[in-house]
């Protein structure tokens, strides 16, 4: 079971969190101006790296806040966590 450091609450067991997908995918501001390929890229295309991956987590059974984490998909080590809007 992972030990994840919520940037607001500190280290907590993985069971308190839920995964929320890849991080740093900004919603386009003027969606109507996007062509189908651009919209599909935002909607469907996700990285699937072997190694470092930036993703969103929700401290669901804690402070209920979303935050970002950099996690290694090979050994599951969470290298860092940081608040939304921050860069690691």
């Amino acid at each position: 079971m992972l030990l994840i450091e919520c940037p607001y609450c500190g280290e907590r067991d993985e069971t308190e969190f839920s995964y929320a997908g890849e991080a740093h995918i900004a919603r386009p501001l003027e969606t109507e101006k996007l062509n189908d390929a651009e919209w599909a890229d935002y909607l469907f295309m996700r990285k699937n790296p072997k190694g470092a991956h930036r993703e969103q987590w929700l401290h669901a059974a804690g402070c209920r806040r979303y935050f970002n984490a950099e996690r290694d998909t090979v050994n599951y080590k969470v290298k860092s966590t940081y608040k939304i809007g921050e860069q690691s």
Partner: protein, 1002 residues
């Protein structure tokens, strides 16, 4: 036939305490401190079971967790335990043990006929013979299960209690042998918080058998003193009978502690097992090593035993496993067994050593004791019926590849074997360190750690005492230092013992062609022999993971602890490659089997497995005979049968009563979220597909939420309570997801919006009062509200009072009737409900449940998200485009509504269906086709999502998602069913009742 094989003195048993027990219905006795296995051996019982596939007689092979043969069913009825390893079962008064896998009895086993046909049951036999055709598997399975099953699972509820505990420590030491104790001592003396867990009752591990000296005293005295010192330390916790069975991420280990299994049934008062979930800064693995058996013809006969096990039985339990022993080894350690046997008065026929020479100090001590040693030799076969009576010995070539010369027959009743040692690298491997093969030591060693852990002692391949103690002290010091404690304990002193190199011998060469001659077993529990592995290799299975699955090697309750390394050796030899190239199978939790009870802990039954959510009116529903339906965690009234009514009869009555007069529904379970703040309306503009900015205070509106993919995600009515205060309803099942989803948009995309979300589902009790007389009922109950049609319109929201209690009334309808939803704080839910029931009595107010609710809404074509939608349905598909704003430039999912796939003309669209026969109700989920006679595969036109009998319409009604359905009104579709029946239906619109909507607007 009970014989006494107990030595006159010695052992760590309590001879003052005789323990009576039963095995296969016969009475025996042993002593406190015995295991079931040692007590049986003391009574001369070796043969304890039959093998899995061939039903060959099998005896006690080991003295520990690795035991493949001595597997028992303990106790009967609700206390029964299957597949207990007799080598680890502590003997207690009136223990009732029986063999597994013997049918009808141990001595006369019908299935042993399999043994005669062994050649016809090679590797992959079950797959090849029974798995095709698939339809026949069910028939074979019954017989195969009976023939090949191990123990029987309990059929009654488990009477015991199980617990979970969480712990944190600086250092967790797994294994309480001398290495583990030393590491714990070093860190403990430094002041670190240490936990030490060991699977046995007594700490000390294999060294409990040893005559060695540590710090100038006997090993057992040193163990006793060290345990006492550790126990006196405040920050140190010692857990015995506690098996670390899983090593997970972030140094999280799971340990199962058995609290009562060693006690007679009558004395078991506390919980039976406790699973410790331990998060440790540092971990020291001192899990020891397991001796390997040698592989030769008929090596599975009772009376064949690991050499170390022989020493354990002699030294620790004061039991003679035989009167005349042959020792067969390829390494030094079994020489100690020769000395142990001699000291116990066991006659030693000969030591057969595969190595051409043996001249270590230990080997020479054995020779000086007058024991004959045959170097460059091997046991090639055994004889005997249900017990070994003699062995055949031949000369072995120096490279171990062939045997030659005359066959010597040597009589014996015990054959002690050793093929070297395998460090118990299970936990280390589970932690992520890939085990590495070491050619010199002929063993897998722990790999490079990926977590804060280190293996010491035998677990690290270090088999001698002095070096083990040294490593352990270093590891204990290092772990303490890593946690900020100053630690520099010197290793306890012990004498070094030089040993000679092992001669790896994965199989004794057979004098027969491959697949001929007697079987030589690699995995005794699963009856996998050398020939099976060779066959698998010939058939093209070269990966060790594939060979494992094809032969079933390592799949038993012992998980191949004894056999796997030998099997890999045989496979490597067959493929002409090294073991390093062959590799090992993956080590996975659990190290030894863990009971379901331990895993479940207290999360059991209706009460604690999952929360049960009940509304404030739940007790009233129960008192009034409601049948309940589970909706997520909620218990919702399903229908209220009267006088033995069936579901259909009750629902027909409830529907008619509601449409003709008035009905009442507990709607408390709908999700309720308060959306508050300066930007609340702006936020809803993005969340919902329709417009919210101009909604008046005191008005409600129905809305769809889409996923960003444009598909319907949730729906519900939201009320504007104040300028910046909305009261949102979601579906019952969608509430939690919608809240998290809205939070995500607010926190990650629009942090500039000032909006606060609060879940208030549990804070409000809601009663829906539905039907032509509903206005009369709510008017009688709720004061301070003008209920006249002109002043309280459809989709209006008002605040009033029920007595002194404030209530909110929303005029919304999920039935097409005039209807009001009355909300009060949840604690007053039953009060409100009873007031409404009382006021409605003169109108025959009828409580109804979810089933009637479904029928009423289907009669009006109202969809249920999650029933009529499945994540691939758009608002347009539902025929509800009126709910899509034409003026907003953006909302979640909007852009996806213009994707080519969303614009397809042949999308499945929601339609109504009316069956040809008005009484026939199409099953929900039924597939629809245009031509039931078309050749297969028949093209699918769609499927039925909702289907009921409508008493109000007088015929069945259904909703279906049909390709291009919006343009197919009046056409015929067919629902072919599994029983060859075909239901014919006509496509209609989805509004079956009161098409003009006059009733809701009354």
């Amino acid at each position: 036939m009970s014989k006494n094989y107990r030595l006159a003195e010695g052992g760590r048993i309590n001879r003052e305490h005789t323990v009576n027990f039963q095995f296969n219905g016969k009475s025996y006795s042993g002593f406190a401190g015995d295991t079931l296995a040692s007590a049986l051996l003391a009574n001369g019982v070796h043969m304890v079971g039959r093998s899995w596939k061939y039903h060959r007689p099998r005896g006690i092979l080991s003295a520990g967790a690795e035991e493949p043969n001595a597997i028992f069913q303990l106790e009967k009825g609700k206390y029964t335990v299957p597949n207990a390893r007799g080598t680890q079962v502590e003997l207690y008064d009136n223990l009732d043990a029986s063999s597994v896998n013997c049918w009808p009895s141990l001595d006369f086993d019908l299935m042993s006929i399999n043994s005669k046909f062994a050649r016809m049951m090679p590797a992959g036999f079950y797959y090849k013979t029974f798995m095709w055709p698939k339809s026949m598997w069910m028939k074979y399975e019954h017989f195969i299960r009976k023939a090949s099953g191990l123990g029987e699972s309990p059929r009654q509820n488990d009477p015991d209690r199980y617990e979970h505990a969480h712990a944190h420590c600086d250092l967790l030491v797994v294994g309480g042998g001398i290495a583990g104790l030393t590491a714990a001592l070093a860190a403990g003396r430094a002041g670190a918080r240490v936990m030490l867990v060991d699977e046995q009752a007594e700490f000390g591990g294999l060294t409990l058998n040893s005559h060695a000296q540590i710090e100038g005293k006997s090993a057992s005295q040193w163990i006793e003193d060290t345990v006492a010192e550790l126990q006196a330390m405040e920050e140190v916790t010692l857990l015995n009978r506690a098996t670390a069975f899983g090593y997970h991420d972030y140094n999280f280990l799971t340990v199962n502690q058995r609290l009562t299994d060693h006690l007679p049934l009558s004395e078991r008062k506390s919980g039976r097992e406790k699973v410790w979930q331990i998060r440790a800064h540092q971990v020291v693995l001192a899990t020891g090593a397991a001796e390997r058996p040698l592989v030769f013809a008929n090596n599975d006969r009772p009376g064949v035993m690991l050499a170390s096990a022989v020493s354990t039985y002699v030294n620790r339990y004061a039991v003679k496993p035989g009167n005349r022993v042959v020792i067969f080894t390829n390494n030094d350690s079994a020489y100690q067994t020769a000395l142990d046997c001699k000291a116990a008065g066991i006659e030693i026929a000969v030591v057969v050593d595969a190595r051409a020479q043996s001249s270590s100090e230990l080997a020479n001590t054995v020779r000086s004791a007058g024991i004959e040693v045959l170097n460059g030799s091997a046991v090639v076969d055994t004889s005997g019926g249900k017990h070994v009576s003699s062995v055949k010995v031949m000369n072995l070539a120096a490279d171990g590849k062939s045997v030659s010369g005359s066959v010597k027959n040597i009589s014996c009743d015990l054959l002690a074997v050793s093929s070297g040692w395998s460090p118990v690298v299970h936990l280390s491997s589970q932690s992520g360190a890939k085990a590495i093969w070491n050619d010199d030591q002929a063993m897998f060693l722990p790999g490079t750690p990926t977590q804060a852990q280190v293996s010491v002692g035998a677990a690290n391949g270090t088999l001698d005492l002095k070096n083990s103690l040294h490593q352990a002290a270093l590891a204990g010091n290092a772990a303490a230092k890593a946690c900020g404690f100053d630690s520099d304990m010197a290793a306890p002193s012990a004498e070094a013992l030089a040993s000679e190199a092992i001669l790896p011998l994965w199989q004794v060469p057979s004098i027969h062609a491959s697949g001929r001659g007697p079987k030589a077993f690699v995995d005794m529990q699963n009856d996998v022999g050398v020939a099976d592995i060779q066959l698998a290799a010939r058939e093209g299975f070269h990966s060790v993971e594939h060979v494992k699955r094809y032969t079933a090697m390592g799949f038993g309750t012992d998980q191949g602890k004894l056999g796997n390394i030998n099997g890999m050796g045989v496979l490597a030899q067959t493929l002409g490659q090294s073991i390093a190239e062959t590799g090992t199978t993956t080590y996975r939790p659990n190290y030894t089997p863990v009971s379901f009870g331990a895993i479940a802990g207290q999360n059991l039954g209706d009460e604690l497995f999952d929360p049960v959510r009940k509304t404030a009116m739940h007790a009233w529903h129960e008192e009034n005979g409601a049948e309940f339906e589970n909706v997520g965690q909620w218990k919702r009234p399903w229908y209220y049968p009267r006088n033995g009514e069936s579901l259909d009869e009750a629902v027909n009555r409830e529907c008619l009563a509601t449409r003709e007069s008035v009905g009442i529904l507990d709607a408390s379970t709908l999700g309720k979220i308060e959306v508050v703040g300066r930007d609340a309306a702006k936020f809803l503009e993005m969340i919902y597909t329709n417009n919210w900015m101009k909604l008046e205070v005191g008005k409600a509106r129905y809305g769809f939420m889409l996923g960003e993919d444009g598909m319907v995600m949730d729906d519900g009515v939201t009320v504007r309570i104040a300028e910046n205060h909305f009261y949102m309803h979601t579906t019952t099942g969608g509430a939690a997801g919608v809240l998290a989803w809205m939070e995500r948009w607010l926190q990650t995309e629009w942090p500039e919006l000032e909006v606060f979300l609060t879940s208030v589902t549990d804070h409000w009790a809601t009663a829906a009062v539905v039907g032509p007389n509903s206005r009369r009922v709510v008017s009688a109950v709720c004061d301070g509200i003008d209920f006249s049609a002109d002043n309280f319109k459809f989709m209006d929201s008002r605040v009033g009072k029920i007595g002194d209690l404030e209530c909110r009334v929303n005029r919304i309808s999920f039935s097409g009737e005039l209807a009001y939803e009355v909300n009060v704080p949840a604690n007053y839910g039953r009060y409100m409900w009873e007031e409404l029931m009382q006021a409605g009595a003169e109108y025959n107010i009828t409580p109804y449940g979810t089933e009637t609710m479904h029928v009423l809404r289907a009669e009006k074509g109202y969809v249920i998200v999650g029933q009529d939608t499945d994540g691939s349905v758009t608002v347009e598909d539902l025929g509800m485009s009126w709910a899509l704003s034409k003026t907003k430039t953006d909302y979640i999912g909007k852009r996806s509504l213009n994707r080519p796939d969303t614009l397809r003309k042949d999308r499945k669209q929601l339609v109504g269906l009316v069956t040809e026969d008005p009484k026939t109700v199409i099953p929900e989920g039924a597939q629809l086709v245009d031509n039931p006679g078309a050749p297969m595969p028949v093209p699918m036109a769609g499927h039925v999502s909702s289907s009921y009998y409508s008493a109000c319409c007088g015929h069945s009604i259904a909703m279906a998602l049909v390709k291009g359905g919006h343009h197919r009104t009046g056409e015929t579709v067919y629902a072919p069913l599994a029983n060859d029946r075909v239901i014919k239906a006509t496509i209609t619109d989805t509004n079956f009742y009161d098409k003009e909507g006059a009733k809701a607007n009354a």
